[in-house]
Amino acid sequence: MAEAATVHSKRRITNLVMTSLTAICAVFATSVLLIIIGFIAYQGISSLSWEFLTDTPKPVGEGGGIGNAIVGSAMMTLLAAAIGLPVGIAAGVYLAEFGKNWYGNTIRFIADTLIGVPSIIIGIFIYTVVVMPMGRQSGLAGGLALAIIMIPIVARTTEEMINLVPNSMREGALALGAPQWRVSWNIVLPAATSGIATGAMLAIARITGETAPLLFTALNSRFYNFYYDQPMSSLTVQIYNFATGPFEVEHAMAWAATLLLVGFILVINIVVRYLTRKKY
């Protein structure tokens, strides 16, 4: 009888210890997030100024800013979105509407594979097919690398969103005599638009934070550059260069640029979550 009691209390203690441990894990991970964001805000805010946001990098001690990096990041993200969104969405529509066969399964598998490929490898690929033939690094190369990263992500989220559209809508339109492409384009796609748009926003947030594929495709530039055939600066590469350099002034600028970048990415993520909150 006493033995049974000790077994019972042992089980209860194990239960208590283990369930508390899992709660500690959760608290630990959330505090890591808060610590990281806290440091970025604390360190970054002191260097933020109008001059910092509009100026170009200058020799150490003369101030300078990241205006050209902001423009470069925006231009390359824009180019990537202009290519990646239409191709990705079209591929996603194909997978959802016509992809329930071996070919669709193959594309699906390959797309997932491409999502898992480290982004630096995409950078090397673009280096061999764009930078080497052109003879120099360029905003075009950087934008193309980002587009390749974007396509499979957009394709898979688009497919998922279209699959959520009820089949009765398709059947209704087909029964009224609409051809299949009309059904897909005028009925199904509009119904999935908000889902596809949030997926697109998350994909844009993701590529804005990419560094590795830009290192030797877009390279960097100390000046404002509005032409895609020239090397182009980006926020992420600029942060990398500032952070790995020896000067404290530059470290402070790295934190400020990070505040801007992380702020942008987190705002997109939070807005998307707010807009889609009903579904979860």
């Binding site: 992809g99 594979t113 090397i124 097919v129 499979p152 492409w181 384009w185 952070a243």
Partner: protein
């Protein structure tokens, strides 16, 4: 009318088909270009490239072993830290916490995955590395200093810092997959266990056991991410091609040697050696991700598996 609609269908379908096929062509082109660009070292060193340990580009000595070693050790380190924590978080979110608490915590952990790699690198250099140098490192050396892995110079920059940064980065990924896997386990299992008098934790162990292959998939997926992670590791691991037992010493990974040295590789053989390592990394991540997908699919079903890979 019927004519034009079938034409419309054909055009529409062809455009979509081309877009879908572009994904296939991109992957094929990536593979082809990397094989072609690494031909000089493939032909000169053959398979021995992978286990040669000398790396000195100025003397045309190219061995990939230090980078493979660094990649493997930093990834294992990351898994050792991240897997128990991720399992704990996922169990807490699915099995224990009330929905009101679970939702915001789950969202915050997802946000960890949205933070760019270079930001983790910055944070690693200026916050984590000094912390390891002044607090964690001395504590480990004082108590466990007899172990070779904790001997050596403490600079804060090295294998351990890389492993910890990787652990933070893969935790949200493993957590998300394990959550889905646990949610896919039917509630009747929990009810049955509780009805037999099992405690909450014993019930959880039964659920975890039945979700084992899905959890294995989550771990393998985390491994794939750790192996390919580039910027953060490049910024904190020290970038030195050496094989040492000490976790405090600088090391190098495949991804980080690509990030740090590719721009300087003007010589054809040097460039070829780097691209051959990129090819190895590409093939390894493809295999790892494929395996992860199969494992997760076996538990959570198709839709969930595709969401994460």
């Amino acid at each position: 009318m019927a004519q034009s609609s079938t034409l419309g269908d054909k055009v529409y379908r062809t455009i979509l088909f081309a877009a879908a096929t572009s994904i296939l062509l991109i992957v094929a082109a990536v593979f082809y270009m990397m094989v072609q660009s690494s031909m000089p070292t493939l032909q000169r060193f053959g398979i021995g490239f992978l286990w040669a340990s000398e790396w000195n580009p100025s003397q045309e000595l190219f061995g990939a072993l230090p980078f493979i070693y660094g990649t493997v050790v930093s990834s294992i380190l990351a898994l050792l830290i991240a897997v128990p924590i991720s399992l704990g978080i996922a169990v807490f979110l699915v099995e224990q916490a009330p929905k009101k608490i679970a939702k915001p915590i789950a969202f915050m952990i997802e946000l960890l995955a949205a933070i760019p790699s270079v930001v983790y690198g910055l944070w690693g250099i200026f916050v984590l590395a000094p912390f390891i140098r002044t607090y964690l490192g001395p504590v480990l050396q004082d108590n466990l200093g007899f172990l070779p892995i904790f001997q050596g110079r403490l600079t804060g920059i090295g294998m351990l810092t890389g492993g910890i940064i990787l652990a933070i980065m893969i935790t949200p990924i493993i957590t998300a997959v394990v959550r889905d896997v646990l949610e896919a386990v039917p509630n009747t299992q929990r009810e049955a266990a509780l009805a037999l008098g099992a405690t909450k934790w014993e019930t959880t162990m039964i659920v975890l056991g039945n979700a084992a292959s899905g959890i294995a998939g989550a771990v393998v997926l985390g491994l794939g991410r750790a192996v390919g992670e580039t910027m953060a590791v490049t910024m904190v691991i020290g970038n030195s091609p050496q094989i040492t037992a000490s976790l405090f010493e600088p090391a190098y990974t495949i991804a980080s040697v690509l990030a740090a040295n590719f721009a300087d590789a003007t010589d054809e053989l040097y460039l070829s050696a780097l691209i051959e390592m990129a090819l190895v990394l590409f093939l390894v991540t493809v295999v790892i991700n494929g395996l992860a997908k199969l494992l997760i699919m076996s538990v959570a079903g198709r839709a969930n598996a595709s969401k994460h890979t």
